[in-house]
Amino acid sequence: MSEIIQTNYLLIGYSVSSWFAAQAIREEDDSGRILAITEDDKAYSRPLLSYVLGNRSKDIAYFGEVVSHNPIEVWWGSSVINLDGVERWAELSDGRKVEFERALIATGAIPVFPPIRGASGEGIFTFTHIDDLERMSAYIHKENIENILVLGGGFIGLKTCEALIELGLNIQLVELAPRLLINMTDEKSSRHLEKALIKEGVDIILEDTVEHFEREGQKLRGCVLKSGRSISCRMAVVAIGVRPNVAWLKGSGVQVDRGILVNRFQETSCPGVFAAGDVTETMNMVTGERSVTAIWPEAVIQGKIAGKNMAGKRDVYPGSLPLNAVEVGETALISAGLVNPPGDDDCEILVCESEGSYQKLVLKENRIVGLVFVKNIEKAGIYIHLLRQRISIDAFRDKLLQPDFGIISLPSNFRKHMVEGAGIEV
């Protein structure tokens, strides 16, 4: 009989969602045992991977206060291989069994790797894990890589390009869609990004993809695209997306579609078992559709809500909001919510364009439902706040996107509420 461990709270996976869940649990329950199980050997920040590769950050470890000021019991280098969400136990890779009262599934997402001929062998990488960073860095140096192919012009693909530009590599970026960051951009904002990438020497190939890779023995030699174009490269990064890491949940009783299905309390189909972050499917606050929104801010909010509910309080998740930022050279881009409303949707579009800058707001029923800003990004947070709070823009519609738009443009009782704190009012 193997060892049986008992815990009040079990966190499966120890990254953003689990960090914030642990903090929220601690705020409500200062003595319950919180145990986290993770394959990792330290707390690290996945979005930092590309910045470490590009030498903009020295350290991949995460030092944020949510981790450093909330020490919990973490079993590093271990994983859960079986979960019984009904009987509430988990089996670990080393054979131990953990019985829990509440559990959080926060096992994140894993890269999608399409079956492409010639893909197996040296020189092809995905880039979502600390091991990928070490392997890629080593390979670039060992093989003296000068030309590199990035397959996928989504968020991870572009972050990879940012890093590879800093390393001075020649990049060929191949994207199947007619523009970059397909869900975050419209055509105009994508063109701004493309221009910035071209200025940095990146060769962008849209509406095309890899048909097969070509090898010389084990080594990568290049690839042939669907269009017939040949590309010569000895290294490639495949960044066509991620999917929730849920395969291990077979037989757990936890209901899964593309990701784990959760209710407004981040609770799964098994009472007492919660899920948060990239592994979940949540309701988009703008469209009402269910989707996986694999971004840090969502992992934070979902982790906090899950933790609070795990500790017996009630807190409701407001719905997910896709948002992100990228920067290439001088060109920064921030996008949030619904950027490309479907044609039959009753949306209004406001646009403000000037030299190198582009701002677009998508309005529906007098509320902001989406935006994309290029270059002039610093007030994006105000608009995103109005979106999240579903504030009617009726009273200040004519000020939107004006250069001097600011907190002063908002209704006075709302801005007094924003600039919070006793005696602090504007």
Binding site: G64, W296, L323, E378, D404, G421, V426
Partner: protein, 144 residues
Amino acid sequence: MKKIRIQEEFCIGCRLCEINCLVKHSYSGKIIKAFREESPRALPRIRVEEEGYLSFALQCRHCEDAPCVENCMSGAMQRDRETGTVFCDEERCVGCWMCIMSCPLGVIKREQKTRRIASKCDLCGGEGEPVCVAQCPNEALLYE
């Protein structure tokens, strides 16, 4: 913690707070050098907003539940446990702009140093009264 209190009824929109903030956060700390010799020029971390007769100076509120801290994926944006000040560790900031997206007041800027980093009010390092308050000619900003 002490906070900067905004008294909009006293703000005359002179923007001296912006100038003093810029100088305070420049390399030299000297007004002529900061404006004439330093390139790129430092940025003010306070913004005067104006509409008709109304104006006020706005800077980071050092929120209790600061979204910029929670959403900072490098751990650069953090809270000083002693003073409560929210500040950005420029060494650690990678310029991902998650903080800019998260700030409901839009008071975080991109600033070009040796690389681009997030720049915001640091209450002048917590060393007494911030310059915007100290130099305000009409007590439109108070530190209390």
